[in-house]
Amino acid sequence: MTPEELEQIAESEREAQKRFTHRVHVCVAAGCLSCQSQPLKDALDKEVAQRGIGERCQVKGVGCMGLCAEGPLVSTSRGTMYKRATPADAGEILDSLEGQEVSRLVCPTDVPFFARQKKIVLENSGVIDPEKIEDYIAADGYRALIRVLTEMTPLEVIDQITKSGLRGRGGAGYPTGLKWSTVSKSVGTKKYVICNADEGDPGAFMDRSVLESDPHRVIEGMLIAAYAVGASEGYIYVRAEYPLAIKRLKTAIRQAERLGLLGSDICSTRFNFRIDLRLGAGAFVCGEETALIASVEGKRGTPRPRPPYPAMEGLFGEPTLINNVETFANVPPIIRNGGEWYARIGTEKSRGTKVFALAGRVQNTGLVEVPMGITLREMVYDIGGGIPDGKEFKAVQTGGPSGGCLPSEFLDMPVDYESLARAGSIMGSGGMIVMDESSCMVDVAKYFMDFCMTESCGKCVPCRVGTYQMHRLLDTITKLSATPKDLALLEELCDLLKNTSLCGLGQSAPNPVVSTLRSFAEEYKAHVEDGKCPAGVCGSAKNEEPA
């Protein structure tokens, strides 16, 4: 594959697409698929065939368009978006290509939900066919890779990434350029690149959407990273619970191999890189990098103390670069447009954009990409469209089980790594769950503690026993039979887990409790001292945990 050949593929694909005067895009990512978007696409295909307009009208399955709550979503080349379309609407949708739009199905796109977003990672989501490499190439895909291989040295690549200010999108926010540079300087007989797609946070589906909508972007990001650090083998560690993402990744890898973008002597250079998939098997702790490495090696996913960091001694004892899906997905646009371009977006310490999965008690649930530094209020009220059913906002939870709940006084806080950390939460991988007055914060804290207790790998005592004891205490509180002594003990355990656990899971397990204790102390007090739950959730039978 030479730059000319790539350009040729892009050109012929663009030509082929120009032949169609009309295009209908149907979302076939998991969210819309579960709202029956496949029968809808089949109906559209059938209708097009029946009318004999297949020559000029293209029906294409595309990735996530974001507004999952209103699925299945359809967009047309006239710029109209339709929501909640059914197979019965197929005829009308095709009619609208040359006539009036179907007003009862129209989903307005000039609303803040779409207008406030800035798409970099998701630029191709909802536009290209995720199962067709030519479509990705026509959208400037793999151009960054060719540029890197033919014009740049590995050091120049790392330099661009450093300049961009990109930080790890998995949650911790470690500077990506620094990580790459460490791996590139490490000495080993072989180096590895691992893509962490073990999105275990409940309430987060960004990585799944990226993999389902634009898998080639992640592969290109990994290729560029491999070239920069000198790696020759890569793994994508993806959750077995995401069958569609796995299927599309397999297709994408096969297509890239066929075009010589993966394999030996890529683009007639001496650069070799292979990617293999490894399926996770449902263990949250495997998102931790050392546990993930153990799992790729075919062992139980238990973490080990660091140092040595994986950058020095990782997979099979060799230097290993581990980045999250979204981090890799940011790489191609950074190379294409330059590090400085990326650094201009976002805030001073948190550059670029972040993809969030907005869910919970909010009008517009779905996937959004916003520039860093946007306020929580804008997220919840403008993009999210506010709380449904006239209820009152109570808290927004970020960072999953390792994060915290932020009450209304933090609504005007900008969303970036530092601000969230100061407020007692974390950026996390991008789950953002909105809660209204019908949620009891003690119950929510118990929910997360239950999660951490079940997911604790059992290797270190503070986490294994501590999460169990904390869950027991929270359970007593939600049964309205706790004493003030229990509350004091709970606070003490928070401190203990945070300071003595082996890995991130245990160290951050108390976060939901700490943040709710701080912001919703009166709710805990009401449970313990007055024996009642202000939200009316606890104490009743429906809250009983299944045995």
Binding site: A30, G71, G280, G298, G360, T365, K542
Partner: protein, 166 residues
Amino acid sequence: MITDFAKPTPPNQDKRWRLVDATMRRLGQQSRGLIETLHTVQEAFGYLDEDALRYVAVSLRVPMSRAYGVATFYHFFTLKPAGEHTCVICTGTACYIKGAPQLVDSVQKMLHVTPGETTADGKVSVLTARCLGSCGLAPAVVYDKEVAGKVSPQTMRERLGRWVQP
């Protein structure tokens, strides 16, 4: 170095063992392929029984304890056969906030099983999942691999009713 290693024979004549053998071959018959191999076994047979674990362990030359350890460590693997149908209720945060506990409650009352169990007649297995990533459609339930969004206890009971009726 083990030199007198003979490849074990599969526990029975079932042709599905060829799939398992193919996975192990692809990964170079090495211990690092353990998890991938168990995935193949589970996909082919539905669950991991002792014979399967023993066969995989011997083939990949890992102790039985490690194979068993891995199989029980990861939630995705199951050592018991599943029912005819499976119903997976998502208990991720978004689903939890939007009513997953009521769904769990409702299924328990209806089928008299707790999550992780199969009904006595072997018809329906009820499971809970940590997060299906369908948070935009919370609460979500998977009926035999088909994801349904915005499920209410009532729609779930109707759906399950179709399975349990003779």
